[in-house]
């Protein structure tokens, strides 16, 4: 091969190499984007196991539960998992109802568990104090719980049966009657 031919082949290899670097770099960018927006699993639908999680509870809002709660530790109880935030207008409509069913059913194996979503602690505490809430409420650190449940917003409630299976999801504020009806149905099983 002539010197000119060798030089041409070298140039072509270099060109291909540069193109590969560019493609890999862009692919890396997409991969990083996926890492940033990654959400584990799918949104739990009725009939699927409730994704397990651990969550620190607000001091003063533990209702006898440990400092950090694990959902699987509540197996054997009916769990009303409620996502809320102090800035959420709709949440205001159901907080009294959640507190009422907690007081009514807590001795019958029902746990109402609040998950505070994208909230600052002072604002959340003002909200909880304002409504006289006593049911356990936790801090959704790094949005791990809301990502695991793929919530679309707040309020959102998941009814979980004694076997840890999601039985119903509701994306709106619930009344006391609606909450009680779901709880009674799960307790009757």
């Amino acid at each position: 091969m002539t010197a000119q031919g060798q030089s041409g082949a070298r140039n072509t290899k270099l060109l291909v190499g540069l193109a590969i670097i560019a493609v890999l770099a862009i692919a890396g960018l997409f991969a990083a984007g996926l890492v940033l927006s990654a959400q584990p699993g799918k949104r739990p639908v009725p009939g699927s196991p409730a994704p397990d999680f651990s969550m620190p509870l607000y001091d003063g809002y533990r209702a006898g539960l440990p400092e950090t709660i694990r959902l699987s530790d509540l197996r054997g109880n009916v769990v009303v998992l409620n996502f809320w935030a102090s800035w959420c207008v709709e949440c205001v409509k159901e907080t009294d109802a959640l507190e009422a069913v907690w007081r009514e059913y807590r001795d019958r194996g029902v746990v109402v568990l609040g998950v505070d979503h994208l909230d600052t602690e002072p604002a959340a505490r003002r909200y909880l104090e304002g409504f006289g809430v006593t049911f356990p409420n936790g801090i959704d650190i790094q949005q791990q719980v809301s990502r695991a449940y793929r919530i679309t917003g707040v309020p959102e409630t998941f009814f979980i049966d004694r076997q840890g299976i999601v039985r119903k999801t509701v994306i709106q504020a619930l009344s006391r009657a609606e909450l009680a009806a779901e709880i009674e149905a799960l307790l009757a099983e």
């Binding site: 041409g8 540069l18 991969a31 940033l36 600052t120």
Partner: protein, 159 residues
Amino acid sequence: MLSALSIGVVLGLWLAGVAMPRAAVAQSPDPLLDDRVHDLAKQMNCPTCAGRNLADCPTDTCAQWKAEIRAQLEAGKSDREVLTYFQTRFGPTVMQEPPREGALLLVWIAPVAAAVALVAAGVWAARRASARKSPSATQPAIQSEDPYVVALEEQVRQS
């Protein structure tokens, strides 16, 4: 007397008109703290509206977050500590810019690497295309009339 009263009323109204808006937009007692809150909020996203800057967002959520930034700064935390708190509490997506560590370093390196590689490839391709178009570029610019040189060049070309 009447004109003096009129002048007094007009002057009073004018003063009230000038003073009222100023009172309404009066600066907070600590403008430096306001600036720090704003600077930090500029580096963060609104948690509920996609793609919106925390500093520019008027929602209740953002007002709460800005109040929390202010409270933490007033408590003596550094800017870095405040940002770390929000990232630890709410996750890396609260930041306008992704963190420059771990796998997310790719976000910073990849565009630069891609741009450099593409520019280099483009320059290389352009130079090759121009070299092909003008074969004289590979030929000597001045043809020698010396028979010895001509014979030597011919030999080199044939080798």
